[in-house]
Subunit: 206 residues, 2 copies
DNA sequence: CCTACCGATCGGTAGG
DNA sequence: CCTACCGATCGGTAGG
């Protein structure tokens, strides 16, 4: 009782999850074998089962870790005081920063979660629904406050924000000229202000 | 020489490609076995090789067919006479109609193309680049004509359009209340006109 | 973490 | 399109 209990996942398991994040991202869940994973860690595949129960458990770990990161950032953005467009910007910037800082985890989260079995997939679906609820709420608030146009389509606006954020993994490559923060800002400008000229927003903007 | 030459792919091969489109979409390329495909068609897996050379050839067929559909519609949109926003709308509506009418093919095209070997993948990449070039051109034209704001970011705007279109497969389910055409229109409105109030666009719009 | 192994399945082929 | 088969690999386990 004097010693702190080892409640953290074993470091070896964490290495396994890290390797799985990498390989599942590059080759897909079904395209990655346990032997592949084992080779990466320098052990034989049978040895992996000292740390995990199954390959699917590993996928769930990677996906849940990704989902958790996105949700944490989004909750922070939604809780900000400030205008709806401030919160929308914080939400999208946070999403894109997360996606880029953890590109492999984001890729697996977005592409491979559908291969989870029913129970685990339902768990992830709940998190995705909660996530979408946060951005919808921000849009709704902006309409209530008069900041966004009254006839704005909440569902479609929320989806456009998510589409911008969720597609980043597909085109972003490290070393680009724009930072993740800058990418988020530009998308937000586009969505909030639109493209057309003849808008007084152009003059209002700094 | 009197008979027309059988130049069309054999109907059996077409059925195979159709089955592959379905299964690769649901389970992924690596998650679909040749036995699986064969079961769907009611034959033994060895028999499939009378129609194809390899499993990868099948993936390429599905992906190339999807890419072709998108490109055809996009070329038509880009060739329209009319304002840049008209062409942007036609581009996005065409993309979304194509994605929804051929949801499985679109899903495979977007998610599984990366598992093609280098040569075939490069071929698909070229088509993707051409596609992105078309929408960038439309945005550039809109800036030149003064229709879009002069400080618009061409690359980011084009990416936002593609993000909206490419993410549809991830959330759209048949039986929704919006038609594919309507979805395309609403996204286009959002991108072109923006969300904020205090825009004279609100009054200008019909 | 290794040795040694399990039954099942993988993509693909030869020959008819 | 079937029969019959190929070597390789799959996820996973028992026992140490």
């Amino acid at each position: 009782m004097a010693q702190t209990v080892e409640r953290t996942v074993s470091p070896r398991r964490a290495e396994l999850v890290a390797a799985a994040t990498r390989l599942f991202s590059e080759r897909g869940y079904h395209g990655t074998s346990m032997k592949h994973l084992a080779d990466t860690l320098g052990v034989l595949k049978g040895s992996l089962y000292a740390h995990i129960g199954s390959k699917e458990e590993l996928l769930y770990d990677v996906v849940a870790e990704g989902a958790g990161r996105f949700l944490t950032r989004a909750n922070a953005a939604a809780a900000l005081e400030g205008s709806a467009s401030d919160r929308l910007r914080a939400f999208l910037v946070g999403h894109i920063e997360t996606a880029i800082e953890h590109l492999d985890a984001a890729t697996v989260f977005l592409n491979e979660w559908r291969y989870l079995s029913d129970d685990l997939r339902a768990d992830v679906q709940d998190k995705r629904d909660a996530y979408e609820g946060l951005i919808r709420r921000i849009v709704t608030d902006g309409i209530s406050s008069g900041e966004f146009r009254a006839d704005a389509d909440v569902a479609m606006t929320a989806r456009l924000v998510l589409s911008a954020g969720n597609w980043v993994y597909a085109w972003y490559r490290p070393g680009g000229s724009l930072s993740s923060t800058e990418i988020g800002h530009r998308y937000t400008e586009l969505i909030v202000r639109g493209l057309e000229t003849n808008s007084i927003n152009a003059e209002v903007a700094k």
